[in-house]
Symmetry: C2
Subunit: 205 residues, 2 copies
Amino acid sequence: MNFSSRLLETAVNELARLPGIGRKTALRLALHLLNRPAEEVELFTRSLMALRQEIRRCKVCGNISDSDTCEICASPKRDHATVCVVQDTRDVMAIENTGQFAGIYHVLGGVISPMEGISPDDLNIVPLIEKSSAGTIKEVIMALPTTVEGDTTAFYIYRQLENKGVAVSVIARGIAIGDDIEFTDEITLGRSILNRTPYPTGMQR
Amino acid sequence: MNFSSRLLETAVNELARLPGIGRKTALRLALHLLNRPAEEVELFTRSLMALRQEIRRCKVCGNISDSDTCEICASPKRDHATVCVVQDTRDVMAIENTGQFAGIYHVLGGVISPMEGISPDDLNIVPLIEKSSAGTIKEVIMALPTTVEGDTTAFYIYRQLENKGVAVSVIARGIAIGDDIEFTDEITLGRSILNRTPYPTGMQR
């Protein structure tokens, strides 16, 4: 690209470092910002700097939060004895959107991955084991990805929680609601038969 | 979306205002920035503010530039008697990338569009007519979009340049190099026959 301005070139280079943003898209975004009022661009950049500089991690669950304790962990309405273990904040948002979970979360910040050099020590696992040892937690629900890394992480945590008097469960894997049986992959279909639930109790949504 | 943080929500809302960025992509970008070093995010936001606040328009051609006169208009190597009229800075970049044009540009900043309320007065047209009247310009090349608005704008400028001793031309429209004749739309194919060029001169690239 031949830029007529170094300012434009720098801005495009910076925008193109974002994931999923190519140089053509970056140029379109830069020219869009150029045509917006200066105050609007200032609000935009200030919101991003504020996000980076002022955000905290909840001391209880590890989720991103505006304060030291997130709203979920601070709420007396939630069941603090039931903890759902997830990989990151997006999973918390997805489960919250269902409105089906009244417990609290524990955000690991990733999964164990020797390939990417992520060991258990790099993750928010120790506080979960400590909380469980304290005796206030009744059930830990694993909601980790169905990958080798996710399964490894779930098993690692399970081994640490054994003999601590905590029930460990895993979210149901099966055929998505609305999906055709004939088009479901073999592994999912196989699991959905093995993990069948009593009728009609299992049909409740 | 249920955000665990107002800072995150604000950042996602701001990112989602960018063209072509939905809320899910905005969330992905915000979480990406959260995981980058603070200095990197500062460089990123500073480059965007600098772009908005410090960029100028070239006084000669209207293209975006770091100084009052852009590099192209300031260059003694360019042919200042041949002016290519384009809609915006992206067209300048595209033509510069070809390396086939040694003249200078004139950036209108848009095309006449009664539907969007853009009249000739909103565009950078008057300086082009004034330059042409001054007698230093020999040829004006129209490189505007092949839309009703682009054609209207080209004709409007053509009428203003009549009897000013300036040759007016338009970039060739025809079958793109590598395209099949049988799959070319009728209008393009029709124009390519009407505007045929002498062989083998017209084959030069």
